[in-house]
Symmetry: C2
Subunit: 461 residues, 2 copies
Amino acid sequence: MRRDVRNLNHVFEPDSIAVIGGSPATGKLGHVVLKNIMDASFQGKVYPVNPKYREVLGLRCYPDVHSIPGKVDLAVFAIPAEHIPSVMEQCGRKGVKGAIVLSAGFGEIGRKDLDEKLSKAVKKYGIAMIGPNCLGALDPSKRLDTLFFPFYKLGRPRIGEISFATQSGAVGSCIVDMAAHFGVGFAKFASYGNALTIDDADLVEYFGSDPRTRQIILYLEGTKDGRKLFEVMKKVGKKKPVIVLKAGKTAGASQAAMSHTGNIAGNYTAYQAAFRQSRVIEANSLAELFHVVNAFSQPLPKGRRVAVLTDGGGLGVLSADAIEAEGLQLAQLSSETEKVIREVLPQYGKVGNPIDLIADSGPEEYRKALDALLADPNVDSIIVIVLFQAPALDSSILDIVISASDQRKKPIFAVAVGGDYTAESRKVWDRYGIPSYDSPDFAVRALKKFTEYSLLSQKKK
Amino acid sequence: MRRDVRNLNHVFEPDSIAVIGGSPATGKLGHVVLKNIMDASFQGKVYPVNPKYREVLGLRCYPDVHSIPGKVDLAVFAIPAEHIPSVMEQCGRKGVKGAIVLSAGFGEIGRKDLDEKLSKAVKKYGIAMIGPNCLGALDPSKRLDTLFFPFYKLGRPRIGEISFATQSGAVGSCIVDMAAHFGVGFAKFASYGNALTIDDADLVEYFGSDPRTRQIILYLEGTKDGRKLFEVMKKVGKKKPVIVLKAGKTAGASQAAMSHTGNIAGNYTAYQAAFRQSRVIEANSLAELFHVVNAFSQPLPKGRRVAVLTDGGGLGVLSADAIEAEGLQLAQLSSETEKVIREVLPQYGKVGNPIDLIADSGPEEYRKALDALLADPNVDSIIVIVLFQAPALDSSILDIVISASDQRKKPIFAVAVGGDYTAESRKVWDRYGIPSYDSPDFAVRALKKFTEYSLLSQKKK
């Protein structure tokens, strides 16, 4: 097999893109993907390919790839499955080295014959191919966007340091959309679908050596080559945090996964063992995946001792419950911290952890308490709970938490639960790399995974 | 003790309200609460009481309650704790029968002396008092709103059928705000704080006999009279679903709860036993409380067999995992349903559960599949997953799910994960009583609690 078939630079760093099936008909896949490539302001050349049209979306349209005058680096396929192998052949002859096949209708519906033909074509010409049956790829720093979901329905993340490989386009789109919503940045994204050539392990390995990627996410139902994936995870897991959401754990779900991408989800306990051995962090749900991913913008904690700072007593109690349930510890505050808190809250004699600032507290009380906790040698991480609804707080509390986080001394996780005002306020933190959560237990569970990863990394160093 | 001290009609159905400490100074508690009472368009008389002013917010202000010319039903206290017992005495002499004491500074900070004085006053005159150290009360149908959090920060729910008693004002405000955000309606709300007179059990009992309340929520750290609460829960639990979030389960959290409202959180296992015996549903987190509450707008399921309908394969697999993990069952679809699905998806041979409509499906495919599932005798409940990001769907999918839900045949839970477009779309469902969730496992866990409640109710009938 030619080495080129695994060279993902051909997919992520093209200078020119051909959209096979590019179309002016708004309902068509080939329309949406072409429009999105243009709307993302891709800086290179874009060539719609469709024998039915001479112009599409203001661009000259070509009857086939051979008619395109210049070089084509990446071909994006948005035509029916049965035509794809022969057009891939043409692309090969044209010298195309990267391909993304969005179309479904291959092995996942029993058309193993089409799989074989397509596979033969890409191997013959050394084409790195993502798909088929996938959502495409994204690289915000290159303005590369082959996702076929419209911009107004699916937000696009800003440039960042997270790279994400997903077997499910749907799950991929949900996470990408959430990231955009909360202002969380992405380095690269690929939905690899049926993984006919490029698979989970290839993407994880590529992200592992990508200098802009500092954190890797993988959504996985089942892999074709468990050994290969395990070896890659072990290698990459030493360098960068890898967070996996494994679906298809149970018999019924595994059945569903089978019909979905044609891959067997396999024995979950074997996966779990592999994750553990390769320092991969496992998320237990879609929500938790996002919760854990966000945590990594903070510095790693040195231990399990958590301080909780709150202006809502009940939210502190709920956090304390979660901290003990998850095997973290409520920090014993130093006498220095206790002194500061007593100065902040002269009326209230008892200083405990959670520190309950009560609802009358303003931003200044938070600032003093946060400074004390950052300096406290007994505290490894801080959960700061803000009841934005309280009249005593104004939006300067956002800046105070951001300033504390900017010191990069200890991880700070924020919790704020509520409606419109609270949700909009929280987004500011997320944009500044402070993970925020809308239920105390979400913050605690993410902090637990983050802490475990940190302690494991310290041990293995 | 005079019977009146537990008559909550005095609090929830006043014709006139005096705001003790009503003030023109925007930072003051007495300003915010007076403004909110007026902004909520309370239909009765409102009297600010404050010797410093002659007029507040355009209303005549009185130096004391005796100077008020007319009858006063409810007094809302927003003055320092130490003055409250004597003013409560004056209220008693004036004939006030309901009181809400927002101010903190009583037993929870060791001022048992103030507790005793206040208690003596309300008992002497038969005043039903909520608080002290609480957030106040809400009845959207009466336009009663004594919450001291500003409207722009804390949304107010529409008129509905859920009543909510909370020991923590912070937790109460979070849930109220979320309900407003998602368009979930409330009948009554009370934050009872230190529960000096009116306690958890009194509120649950009152909500139990309130004709507009169909569902009751309780946030509880610890109760003063476990036996009383247990008896009330047993009685009310037979008539209406009662959902409890118990905080202070662990040693550290229990300590935090103690300093927060001055109540001991107590032995969690005893609470659990009481909840089980009284058919009370326990939520495990703040998020889950809201998730479970929403479920009850749907008809009760007859059994554990769940059908999952999705246009995103991966989201179906994740749901299937959660269904098996939570002890629900993936329904075996009837041959009639399979036939319909095969007609809807001619290309795709295998019909399983989850039903994967794939991303090309439009609203019409959903409609046909939903109709088949509503008629299928093998299906007890339906989880419908919508990838709003998919180009093939337009917003008519909202109406199709609403129409299916309006048939009231089986519970329908919706799942949609994403950013702005998805979040706004989901809200439409919540407003129409279709519980919607932003992670498949959230839907499944809520459905599990809902199903268990249903099966228990069937057995006990």
